[in-house]
Amino acid sequence: MLKTLLRNRKAAFGATLVALFLGLAIAAPLLAPYAPNQRAARPHEQPSSEHVLGSTRMGRDVLSQTIHGGRTSLLVGFAAGLIVTVIGVGIGVTAGYFGGRVDEALNLLTNISLVIPNLPLMLVLAAFLGQTSPFVIAAIIGLTSWGWGARVVRAQTLSLRQRDYVLAAELLGEPAWRIILVELIPNLISIIGFNFIGSVLYAVITEATLEFLGLGDPMALSWGTMLYHAQTTSALRVGAWWEVVAPSLALALFGSGLSLVNFGIDEIANPRLRSLRVPKKLRAAALHGLATR
């Protein structure tokens, strides 16, 4: 399965980007030239050979902060993505498998969670919880953002539910939990993977957003708090673009990597979506008629 995924060029490129950021985060203390909170330079120093991405208002090395900040950002992203996926799959499969009243109730819950806007809801939660640590933020994101996953998983479960092998398992008297875990979940794996990666992407962006708004713990170091400090010290307006560009680029590249992996998964799961490389002559013929399919 991993092989098929990596044979897809978009997915392979995306996976490389993601792996690169994971590697940077894991090996941060070895790779970062300075300690992240050390005063290593004068305030707002321009990028130079000594400080490749310049320094912040506080004289901290931006490159080191970005490498270390990735640890929190990625950890929150993956943790929140995991919570979103577990809740979404749990609710989606339960609703789809049991049907009837259970489905009606869970589906109503899912639809309500989809029409209440997420960010405003998270703002209320985070504001009441006070200066929220990265892990509280992960929990907030996880608990408010499972709606899409639940909806997609439910729809797919409903269609799997009708297959003969599920019926066979039921006639054999298999308990419901076993049918769900052994028969259904393995067949939902591509949807679950797609959902997980999408959720991680969403969580990384949302964490940065909440922290940028000043709802995070300003002492924590992540790409979001870096942007928050850059904003509160008006880095852009005084021309210290590097302080903003570094965490922004990290967010953008990591996000792009994840979404390319997902694009690849989508193409593998649904071959019609693939953009095949067809020889020119054939393509001209195909475009003309025969294969509008």
């Binding site: 029409v115 708004l213 000043g214 673009w241 903003v244 393509r283």
Partner: protein
């Protein structure tokens, strides 16, 4: 009709959930809920305003169900209490003053992204595997993965600070008086360019991909093959046969994504000091103005429900199976 009535009942339930959430949250957290809610008001509010605020949020000497009833009565009569940060304005006044600016950004950018993205999606699906499809589609997807926060900051720096071709913030030039004058409207349009463009940029990819994928699935259907066999023109097949049908899922995602756009707009407004809901809220958050923070959830939910209802109406108009 039955379909729409069911939807309306659902919307009322959803709104009730948001209101209940507002009611329960301060009461579930440790500590005195009244303290938590109004801790920041300090001496800013005169005692009679404080008493009014308590009554609005149901902090009365009664059992919980009666407190809840009191709060729901406030919400459904659209009394959201007093703002602490913007005293003596009510939350309602603060939010209604800011809402038009946010709507301007959200609606313009969404319509722009929806039309550009859907048309590009149709083009990509029609020539799938072509040059536009192989580079355009993944590029759009990558663009979508870039947070609005990042695009806004970069756009602000490049166009407003470095090259100084567009204003750095606010909704209109400081030298102008608001009014329906040509100069004022031109200034508003000029100030909206950057926020609208950054918001639209974040959405185009989503519409492109939704449209492309549902279009590709439709292009495999028999009725399209039949149309090709009958010798129908490309344009007709592309837009009237496949495009129109592919538009239905795109419309649903349009309504659903409005919530995310509102979220994105909050961020964009803060970066550009744009006087909409986001910027107002940002000030409210800094001052821990809880009545305001709770009020924005209700008004945002209401906006989402309205958008979904409009999408329902359009779906009924486009899909004859739902008319009955």
């Amino acid at each position: 009709m039955a379909f729409l009535l069911r939807r309306i009942a659902f919307y009322i339930a959803a709104f009730l959930v948001a209101a209940t959430f507002n009611f329960l949250l301060p009461r579930l957290l440790p500590g005195d809920p009244v303290e938590t809610m109004f801790a920041q008001s300090g001496t800013a509010l005169p005692p009679e305003s404080m008493a009014a605020l308590r009554a609005t949020f149901g902090f009365i000497d009664q059992p919980l169900p009666l407190q809840y009833a009191r709060y729901l009565a406030s919400v459904f009569t659209w009394d959201l209490g007093l703002s602490i940060k913007f005293h003596p304005l009510t939350v309602n006044e603060v939010l209604w003053r800011a809402l038009p600016w946010t709507l301007l950004l959200v609606l313009t950018s969404s319509l722009l992204a929806f039309s550009v993205g859907s048309l590009a999606g149709v083009a990509a699906a029609w020539r799938r595997g072509g040059r536009f499809d192989s580079f355009g589609a993944p590029a759009a997807l990558m663009l979508q993965a870039v947070p609005p926060l990042v695009t806004s900051l970069v756009a602000l720096y490049v166009f407003a600070i470095e090259f100084k071709i567009l204003p750095t913030g606010f909704a209109w030039g400081a030298e102008l008086d608001p009014g329906w004058t040509l100069a004022f409207m031109a200034s508003v349009a000029q100030h909206a360019i950057l926020p609208v463009a950054t918001l639209a940029l974040a959405q185009i990819g989503g519409y492109l991909i939704t449209m492309r994928n549902s279009m590709i699935n439709l292009l495999g259907e028999d009725y399209i093959v039949l149309g090709t066999a009958k010798g129908l023109g490309d344009r007709r097949l592309r837009f009237a046969y496949a495009g129109l049908n592919a538009l239905l899922p795109a419309m649903t995602s349009f309504a659903m994504s409005l919530g995310a756009v509102f979220g994105g707009s909050l961020i964009t407004e803060i970066v550009f000091n744009y006087p909409g809901l986001g910027y107002t809220l940002f000030q409210g958050i800094a001052a821990r103005d809880y009545p305001l923070i709770q009020g924005q959830l209700l008004i945002m939910t209401l906006a989402m429900l309205a958008a979904n209802f409009i999408a329902d109406l359009l779906t009924v108009a486009l899909d004859p199976r739902l008319r009955g």
